[in-house]
């Protein structure tokens, strides 16, 4: 893998693809993440709220994006990490996380990379779009 300090603007991060999301995924994430909002696990509640079915926690896909970052750099290099949740992730969706270097900047003696990151489904529809700032040195 290319050393992080050699990455130029436009370079892509190693992408990751996660297994498709099923009800068990959501049940496990409900418990593990402390997000017990029934809209993600209780279809009766979801239907009363006007949804056709339960749907994935946004923070599940954000955790996947975090894994893409920590597979690539030590977590201590991450300075900021943010996303906008653009579309609901549904049962059966298979999330792929991608990223690329947008900008290289110097701040307080550190070289930082500003990254554009996204989580998209198997059809290429972006679910989460965001950014991260990681330190190179």
């Amino acid at each position: 893998m290319t050393a992080i300090e050699d990455l130029d603007v436009g370079s892509a991060l190693p992408a990751i693809t996660k297994p498709s999301i099923n009800r068990t995924t959501l049940a496990l994430f409900c418990g593990a993440s402390n997000d017990h909002n029934p809209i993600h696990v209780d279809i009766d509640f979801a239907r009363r709220a006007g949804m056709e079915d339960v749907f994935a926690h946004g923070m599940l896909s954000m955790a996947y994006l975090g894994q893409m970052l920590t597979n690539w750099v030590p977590q201590s290099a991450i300075r900021r990490f943010g996303v906008r949740f653009g579309a609901i992730t549904h049962l059966g969706d298979e999330i792929t996380c991608t990223g690329k270097v947008l900008e290289k900047l110097e701040e307080a003696g550190e070289t930082l990379l500003k990254l554009e990151i996204a989580a998209a489904d198997q059809y290429g529809e972006a679910k989460l779009i965001g950014h991260a700032i990681v330190a190179v040195s």
Partner: protein, 146 residues
Amino acid sequence: MDQNLLGTSSEPVTVPVEAGQLKFFAKATGETNPVYFDDDAAMAAGHPALPAPPTFCFTLNLARKDPFAFYTGLGLDLGRILHAEEEFEYVAPVYAGDTITIFETLVDMFAKKGGALEFYVFEGIAINQRDEIVVKLKNTIVHRNG
């Protein structure tokens, strides 16, 4: 929207970071990097204990008897809220064995689409047992009306 609600803060929650929950979180998210679920791998990578992954302070903030009481107290209906944005700023690492205190404050609120969507912006701070700020959080919730 009642702008008088601006500045309202949640009750601080103080929660131990438990290795067992970190391992459960790793399992639930299909984590493949052993640093996040294998104590020996974490130590070998130079960590004093299992590290909390990047989004984990969001989870710690929900470790409350009624995690959504703050939102429902602001008049939000759980069946009508969606997560719009989330951002973390990292100041110091969080490890199993730490005790983290978190609270959040409503800092902005605005409507879009003629009031059909109401946005609530919260800023949170996570502080460890040594009174060090470890993570700053920013969380935007959208409430669907009608």
